[in-house]
Symmetry: C2
C-alpha cells in the first residue's frame, strides 16, 4: 500500500501563496489553496484602477483559472477563521475543515491607522479591488460635486477639488502622480470647474519621498511630482482626518478625499498560531521561514517578519514571491524524500516607481534610471510580471490609448448598491 500524499494547506493566493503552489506543481503532494477572494491581484498596478486608468479585470485573474492545469491543487474560496496547530487543521467561516501536514500562511497585510481606526472611513487605503473601486468612485464623484458647486459655493467646490495622499512610499507617490494626471485629463470635459483650483497634496512624516530608494532618486521623484503640480509636504505629521478636512502638524486642509498609504499591519496569522503579535502584527520567522516552535508551519510574504543582515525584509511583491518559491521548492524536495538544504536569502533586484507620463525612478541591479527611460523600464517590468497574455495585451493597449489621447478610460461611477 502506498503512503498517503502529504497534505499542504496554503492560506492566501497573493504573490507568496501562488508562487508556493506553483513551485509544487510537479510534487507528489495534495495542495489546498484557500483565499477569501476568487482572484489573484497584481497589487503593484492597483493604483491605476483607483485612478480610472485600468479596469479591475486587467490586473486580476481567477485563482482557479491560473491553476486550472495543476491537478494537485484544489482552490477554495472561503475565509479562514482559525488554525488548530495541535490537531493540525484549518477551519473556515463557511464551516469547512482542512487537515494539513504542512501549513503555509501567506495572508498579507492590511492598512494600519496607528490606532486611529476611525480614520479608515475618511481615508481608505488600497489593498483590494474593492478598495480601488471605492476610491475611484470617491475621486470621480469629488469632481462631479465640484462641478455642481462651482457656481454657488466656490470654497466648497475647491474643497472637493483637493486630494490628500498620506504616505510617500511607492503607493503614495504613484497615487499622487496619477491623481494629478487624472485631474488634468478631466479639465476639458467639465464646464464650470476651474482646473487652477485642483490641489493634490502628498504628506509624509519623514524627510524624503520614497525613503527606501537612493537619495538621488528620491530627490528626482520629488521634482517630478512637483512638476506635475503635486504639493509635497515632508516632515509633516497627520494629526486628524475628518470627512471634510485633514489636520496636519502645520495646518488644516479642506479636502473631501484622502487616501491612506502610510502604514500596514499584518493579517491575524500571529493570533491563529497563538503567538504574541508585535506592534505591526508580523510573525517572526527563522531563516527557513518558520516561526519558532512550529516546525510544520511556514509564514511568508507581508505576514512574516524575516531578518536579513539584521534588517527586516520589506513587504513588497518580489520578497513574497521569492519566499513562496523557496518554501514550495523546499517542500517539493521533502516530498520526494530528499533532505532540503539551505536557508532563505532574498535577492534584491532593485525597486522602481512611476510618477506619471514619461516619469519614473528606477534602481535596477544598482543602475539608477530616471525620466522617459525609467518610465519605459517601469512599464516593461510591470507588464512582464502580470499574469496572463490577455491581461498583458489589454494593459498595454490601454496604456497606449491613454498615452496618445491623454484620456483615462475607466471613469465610471457605478453606485454599487
Amino acid at each position: 500500500m502506498s503512503q498517503p500524499l502529504q497534505k499542504i494547506v496554503i492560506v492566501g493566493a497573493g504573490f507568496g501563496g501562488l508562487s508556493a503552489a506553483k513551485a509544487l506543481s510537479k510534487a507528489p503532494v495534495e495542495i489546498t489553496l484557500i483565499d477569501r477572494q476568487n482572484h489573484h491581484l497584481f497589487q503593484p498596478l492597483l493604483y491605476q484602477v483607483a485612478t480610472a486608468a485600468l479596469t479591475p479585470a486587467e490586473i486580476a485573474v481567477p485563482i482557479r483559472h491560473i491553476l486550472r492545469h495543476q491537478k494537485n491543487v484544489h482552490v477554495v474560496m472561503d475565509s479562514v477563521d482559525a488554525v488548530d496547530t495541535s490537531v493540525k487543521c484549518v477551519t473556515t467561516k463557511d464551516g469547512q475543515r482542512f487537515d494539513y501536514d504542512v501549513l503555509i500562511l501567506a495572508t498579507g497585510a492590511r492598512h494600519s491607522y496607528f490606532g486611529k481606526d476611525h480614520w479608515a472611513q475618511h481615508a481608505p487605503g488600497l489593498k483590494t479591488l474593492g478598495d480601488a473601486f471605492d476610491l475611484r468612485e470617491r475621486i470621480l464623484s469629488a469632481f462631479e460635486q465640484a462641478e455642481n458647486l462651482a457656481s454657488s459655493d466656490l470654497a466648497a467646490a475647491k474643497a472637493h477639488q483637493c486630494f490628500v495622499v498620506v504616505g510617500a512610499g511607492p503607493t503614495g507617490v504613484e497615487m499622487a502622480g496619477a491623481i494629478a494626471e487624472l485631474a488634468h485629463s478631466l479639465a476639458r470635459d467639465f464646464r464650470k470647474i476651474d482646473p487652477k483650483h485642483n490641489r493634490i497634496l502628498l504628506i509624509e512624516g519623514g524627510p524624503d519621498v520614497l525613503p527606501s530608494l537612493a537619495k538621488k532618486l528620491s530627490k528626482r521623484a520629488r521634482r517630478d511630482l512637483e512638476s506635475l503640480g503635486v504639493e509635497v509636504l515632508t516632515d509633516t505629521m497627520v494629526r486628524d482626518i475628518h470627512a471634510d478636512r485633514v489636520e496636519t502638524s502645520d495646518s488644516t486642509i479642506a479636502s473631501h478625499t484622502a487616501v491612506w498609504a502610510a502604514g500596514v499591519q499584518a493579517s491575524p496569522a500571529a493570533k491563529w498560531l497563538g503567538l504574541d503579535p508585535g506592534r505591526s502584527g508580523h510573525v517572526p520567522v527563522d531563516d527557513t521561514l518558520r516561526p519558532q516552535g512550529h516546525d510544520d508551519v511556514y509564514v511568508i510574504g507581508d505576514t512574516a517578519l524575516a531578518l536579513q543582515n539584521d534588517k527586516p525584509l520589506p513587504g513588497i511583491a518580489p520578497v513574497a514571491k521569492q519566499m513562496g518559491q523557496y518554501v514550495g521548492r523546499r517542500l517539493a524536495q521533502i516530498a520526494v524524500g530528499h533532505t532540503p538544504k539551505g536557508s532563505f536569502r532574498y535577492k534584491d533586484a532593485g525597486a522602481l516607481a512611476t510618477i506619471g507620463r514619461n516619469r519614473a525612478v528606477a534602481d535596477i541591479f544598482g543602475l539608477k534610471v530616471t525620466g522617459f527611460i525609467g518610465w519605459l523600464l517601469w512599464g516593461a517590468a510591470h507588464v512582464y510580471f502580470l499574469i496572463g497574455f490577455k491581461n498583458r495585451l489589454f494593459v498595454v493597449l490601454n496604456w497606449l490609448w491613454s498615452y496618445i489621447t491623454w484620456q483615462r478610460g475607466v471613469r465610471l461611477i457605478m453606485h454599487k448598491p
Copy 2:
C-alpha cells in the same frame, strides 16, 4: 440687445436624451443634461457584463466625455426630485434648480415585479451597471458555493448550480444563453463541481420565447437555447421567489440565483408632471411626443407611451434614439425661427437577439437570418452602435479572445464594501 437663448433641460442621458442633445449640437440653445449616473450605458450589451464577458468600462462612457466638444450643453450628475411645470423649473436631490423653456424627459424604465416588490432582492433585474455588477457577483459566487458544498451536501450544491431566468424577451433569452455558456466555460477550472448538475431554466408566461419576433425565429431561438442545455418553460407562471427556490405554476425549483427579465415600469415622470400614471407608469404622448396639456414638455424613450398604427411602440433602444433625434431636430428648427413640421414616425429596422456562440436570430428589413450569419450580423450591429473607438476595439478584442479560448475574461468577485 439680443434675445436670451432658449433653455432646454433634458433629464436622462440614455439613448433618447443623448440623441436629443446631439441633434441640438448646432442649435442656438442652452442645454442642461441631467443624469443620476456619470455615464451613458449601452444597455443591449449589459447582460455580457453580468455574465463576465465584458467589463463595465467597455459599454459605458462618461456623458460629459461624449459631449465634451458640444459647447452648448452642460452635463450635471444629480437626481431630479421634482418638476414644477407652473414656474417651469426642475429641482434636484442636491438642491440644484434649473429653469427651462422646454423640458425633455427621457428617464427610462425600471423593473416591475407586478406588485411583488419583495421579489427584487432574490431576482434582481438588469438596467444599470450596478445591477450587472451585482448579478455577476451572484452568479460567480454560486459556482464557488457549489464547489465548497459538492463533497458534503450534493443537494445544496445542485441548488447553487441552478439558475432561473424569468421572462423570455431579448434580455431573458440572451441572459439564459450567456449563463449556459459561462457555466460550460467554468467546468475545467473547478475540481469538485459536476458540470452535469448545471441547470439553466428560462421561464416565460406566454407560449413563445422572443414573442415580438416572427414565429419561425422564435422557434429557432428556442431550439438554439435547448441545444445549449437551457430548459425553456413556456406557458409557465412564476408564483413566488425566495432566496433558495422559485415556485412556478407547475413546480418548485431549488435555486439560489434568479434573474428578472419579465417586466418594466416607467420612471416617475408621470408623477412629476401631475399626470395619472397608467399601470406601467408610462406617460401617454401625442404624435409630437408631448403629453396632453404640456406644450413645452416632451417625453421620449421607455418613459413614453406613444402609439403608432394604434399599437404602443416598444421600449427598445432604436425607438428611444429616433424619438430623441426627432425632438432634437424639432427644437433646433424652432430655435432658428422655423415652424417645425411633421409628426414622429418610428422606422422599424428589425430586431435581433443572440443565443450564444455562433447562434443568433435576426429580422432585419424583413430579412430573417439565423445561425452563424445571424450571429455575425448581431455582433456587427452592436459594435457599430457602441459609442467610442476604444470601446469598439476592446469589445471586439474581448469577443475574439473569448471565441478563441472559450473563456470568459471578467470572472471577478469583488465583495464591494
